[in-house]
Symmetry: D2
Subunit: 290 residues, 4 copies
C-alpha cells in the first residue's frame, strides 16, 4: 500500500494528524483575532439526524426532579440529577477513527484488521487514538460561490478545492484542516428523511488533491464527506483513499451556521474528540476560533 | 438566591461561562508558545472509572472485521466497522451541566426544577447549553507544593488557592479556568476501587473564593471537585455554592499527566463538551495548549 | 376507589390474577387434549413492531463467530457467542404490569404512585410481581364471526363478548383468560406503519363486562387492547377501568395465527412473564396448549 | 459429527425439543394435581446475579410518576409509566439457544457458524427458534440426598442421575425435562461474588447419560449447568456434548425454592422463552405446575 503507510513508523496510529506539529499549532493560535468561539456541531440527542440503519440516540434519566417531588430523601438541601446516554458513534457530529474503514485484511498503516472484533472493539486505531489538535482551518464555502446549496449528488473535485483556496488568497499548507460547505445539512435540517440520500460531496480527484496537499483532517456539512452515489463499481472510494491509504480522519455532519457569512476563510480550528476506547468514531464539538 | 442569578438576564443558561468574552479568548490564544496540545481526559471506555452506583460504559460493535471474515458482502473493496456506546454521563472526564444539582425547586438562575423530567431530560440547562470556551487556564499543583499526592479527605481552602496563584506570580482574572491537581487520580488509576471514597478536594471557603474571583470553570483530578465527606449536616456544599448559586460548571475526573512537570502555570485552555440534548453532563476532552 | 381495591387485602399486588386458584389451574390442565403447544407471541427483535415514540429493540453481539475467525483463543475446541439486548418493555408481546397506568396519586389497590420513580422504577406492582398462571383461555374470534379483520376504530362492546362466549357454548368463569382476535396484527404485520393508529378494540362496556365476569387477564391481537381513539374527553379508559380499578393485567400484541382455524374456543392458557424488577411490563410468550 | 445432527432433518433448528411431542405434552398435563403454579426464576433486574465479564442489567424509566408530579399533562385522568431495559441475555434465568456454543466451523446440526455475526446476530438457531414446551419435569434433589448444598466443584455424574430417578421410583423417558438441585444458588443468593466461581455441576458422564436418555432440556440451579473448573484440557465439555452435539438446550440459574420440600419428583414443566431474534439466549420464567 502506498499513501502514508509507514511514513510515521510502522506502529503509528495517528496518520495525517502527525502533520500538525508545533508550528501549525502556533500558526493556528495566531489566527485568533476577534476572540469568538464558534461551535460547529449539529444538535445532538434524541432528535438528531441518525442514518436509518442505526439506532437513534437515547437519553435515560437515572435520577431527576420528579424523584424529589415524590419524596426522595434530601440531605443538606442537596438534590442532583443524572442520566445515561446511548448512541451510535457514527451519528451526529463525529470524527471517523482510522479503524472505521479498510480494504483487504489491513487497516491503515498495515495494522491487522483482525484486531477489530466484537470482544475488543478496535484494539488498534480506535477512537481513543484520535489525537486532539489545534491547527489552521480553511473554509471553502461552495454555497457562497454558487449562490445556493449544492444539488444532490454534486461532485466536488480537485479543481473546486484549488479554486476555493485561490479565491480566498490562500495556499494549502501541510496540517491544514479543510472545511467544506455544501449546504446539505442546512437544507435538510428540518426534515432528516432525505439527508441520508445522495449527498453532494468530494470525489476521487478531491481525495487525491487533499492527500497531495498533506491536509491533516477534512470536515464537511454532510453525512459522509464524499459524493453519493459512489462511482460505478466503487463504494466510498474517498473514504478508502483518505482514511485507509493516507490516514486522514473525517469530521462528518458539521453544522457551519456560525462560521458562514463572516468573510472568514482561515481560522484557528480545534478538534478534541471524545474517544471511547475501541470505538470507531469519536463524538466531537469542533471549534472555529475567530 | 444571591450569587449569579439574574446577573446575565433571567433566561441565561450559561452562567459563569459568560465571563469568557473576546478579551479572554484572545488572551488565551496569546498563551500558546510551544505549540503543544495536551489532552487532559482520563481513558474512556469499558475499563474507565465509574462510580459503583452507575453502570459501566459499554461499547458494542454493530459491524466489525469478523463479519467480513465470515463472508459479508464487499463492493469495490470497501469494508467498514461501526459501533454503539452507552455510558453514564457523569463517568470519566465530563463537564457537569448546570442542571446537575440544585436545592429547593429551582435550578441555577431560577429555572424551574420541574423542567427536569424522565420524559424530557433537562429541558433547561442541559448539556447542550454548555458553551465551548477557550480561556486562560491556571494550574494549582498541590502535589508539587506538598511533594506527594494529597491524603484522603484533605480539605483545600481559599488560602491554598490564593497561595497557588501567588506562588506562580499570577493574579486571578475573571473568566479563568482553574485547574487543581490533588494527585487523587494518579494514585488510584491502577485500582479504581477506592477512587470513589473520601477524595481530597475543595471546601466551602474555596468555593467562596472561586465565586468572588469570577472564575468561569473549575476542574480537578478527582471525581467530584470537592472534599469528601462533606461537612457535617451538608451534602456536596461546593456543588451547591458554585453550580447552583454561581453557575460555575465543573470538569470532573481530569488526568493531568501531560501538564505537570513542565513548569507551566498558565496556559491556553479549551473545553468543547459533547452535549447530548437534555443530559446533565457533557463528555469532554479538555485541552491545555502550551 | 371501588373495583377490586382491597378485595385481596391492602398489600395485594396481584390483582385479578388472584382469581386463578388451584381449581382453575386443574380445570386448565384438563383442557389439554391434542398435546399441541401454540406460542402466541409476535416475532421479537430489531424488526418487531415498536410504537414510534419508543426506541426500537436492539441486539448487540458481545462475542460471535467472527471473533474466532479472526483468531480468538480456543481451548478444548470450545467456542461461544453471547449478546446484550435492549428494548422498550411495552414493545412486542408483553404483559402490562399493574404499575403501568393509574389516575390520581394512587396505583391499583391504593399503592402510592410516589413509589414509581426514575431511581427505583416501580417499587410496587412492578413486572416482577406479575404472577405466572395457567388457566382456561377462551378465544373470541371476531374475524371468523365477521368474515374479515375488523376495520380501524371498531368498538368491541360487552355484547360482542357475551355473544362470543355464547356462540361457543361457553359461560364466563372467574379466572378466565380472555383472548380476543380482531385481525389487526394479521393485517398490519407486513407494514407496521399504520399498526399504531386507530386500532379496533374493547370499549368501556366491554371493560365493565370483563370486570363483572371476574376475568383474570385479557389479551388482544392489537397494541393497546382498547379501541382507539378513546371516547371524547377520555384517554385509555379501558386501561383505567381494568388495570387501575380492577387489577386486570393486559397481554398486548398477541399473534394468534397458531390458534385460529382449529375450531377451538377454550384451551389451556399459560402466561409466564419475564419480570425485570421495577419494570412496568414483562415480556412474554403466552401459550395455548391444545 | 455424531450425536443428534441430522436426526430431525438437515434444516432442523429445534434439536432435542423435538422429543416433546403430543404424548409428552398430554402426559405432562396429567401430572397437574394440586393446581399450584411454581415459578423457578431468580429475581431479575439491576440486583440480579450477572457474571463479572458481562454488564449488569439496567432499567430506565422513560416516564414515571415524577413526570406527573412536575406537571406533565393529563387527559381524562389517565397517567402512565413506561421503561426500557437492557441486559446480557446470559444473565439471570435463561435458556441457552443452540447457537450459544460450538466447535469447529459448524453449529449444532451443521448450520454454518458463519451465520453468527455482529450484523445479524444468530441468523440460525437464534433464541427465537427456542420452541416453547410443556413436558414432564423430573427433579433430582441432590441437596435433600446429601443433607446440605453440594460443595464447590462437586462433580455430578451419570450415576447420581440414575440414582436420582431410581430413588424417586421413576424411569427416564424421552422428552423429559431434567431439573437438578445442587444448592449452589441457595447458598450464594445473598452474596453473588462467589457464585460465578467453581460451581458444582454435571460432568461428562452425566452428559452422556442425558443424551442417551433423550432428555429434551436440562436445568440446574447454578450458572453453567456443568461442574467448574472443567476437566484438564477441556473447556465446558458438557456444553459441547449436549448443546452442540445433541441439541439439548440448557436452563441456567434456576431458583428452586418453590419446588423443594414438597415431596414432588415429577411434575408438569413449562418453558416459554422470550426469544429476541438473533440472540443466543432467551430470558424465561420456567414453571413447575404441581
Amino acid at each position: 500500500m502506498s499513501g502514508n503507510w509507514g511514513r510515521w513508523g510502522s506502529s503509528d496510529e495517528i496518520g495525517a494528524l502527525n502533520l500538525v506539529g508545533p508550528d501549525e499549532v502556533r500558526r493556528a493560535a495566531s489566527l485568533v483575532r476577534e476572540g469568538t468561539v464558534v461551535a460547529l456541531a449539529q444538535p445532538s440527542g434524541a432528535e438528531g439526524a441518525v442514518p436509518p440503519h442505526r439506532g437513534r440516540g437515547m437519553r435515560f434519566m437515572d435520577r431527576d426532579a420528579g424523584d424529589y417531588a415524590l419524596g426522595a430523601r434530601v440531605v443538606g438541601g442537596f438534590k442532583f440529577a443524572e442520566d445515561t446516554v446511548m448512541l451510535s458513534t457514527h451519528s451526529g457530529t463525529h470524527v471517523d477513527a482510522l479503524s472505521h474503514v479498510w480494504s483487504g485484511d489491513e487497516l491503515f498503516n498495515g495494522h491487522p484488521a483482525s484486531t477489530l472484533r466484537s470482544t475488543t472493539g478496535a484494539a488498534r486505531l480506535g477512537a481513543e487514538t484520535l489525537r486532539s489538535i489545534m491547527t489552521r482551518g480553511v473554509l471553502i464555502d461552495l454555497v457562497a460561490a454558487r449562490g445556493e446549496p449544492l444539488p444532490a449528488s454534486t461532485r466536488i473535485g480537485a479543481e473546486e478545492l484549488a479554486r476555493g483556496y485561490a479565491s480566498a488568497g490562500l495556499v494549502p499548507e501541510a496540517g491544514d484542516a479543510l472545511v467544506v460547505r455544501t449546504g446539505w445539512w442546512e437544507s435538510h435540517r428540518e426534515s432528516h428523511a432525505d439527508y441520508f440520500d445522495n449527498e453532494p460531496g468530494l470525489d476521487e480527484s478531491a481525495a487525491e488533491w487533499i492527500a497531495a496537499a498533506d491536509i491533516a483532517i477534512v470536515g464537511v456539512d454532510n453525512y459522509a464527506i464524499e459524493v453519493q452515489p459512489s462511482s460505478e463499481g466503487t463504494r466510498f472510494p474517498v473514504h478508502l483513499a483518505l482514511i485507509h491509504e493516507h490516514g486522514v480522519p473525517f469530521i462528518e455532519n458539521l453544522e457551519l451556521d456560525g462560521l458562514v457569512g463572516r468573510g472568514v476563510a482561515e481560522f484557528c480550528f480545534v478538534v478534541a474528540p471524545v474517544g471511547f476506547a475501541g470505538s470507531t468514531a469519536g463524538q466531537v464539538t469542533p471549534l472555529a476560533i475567530l
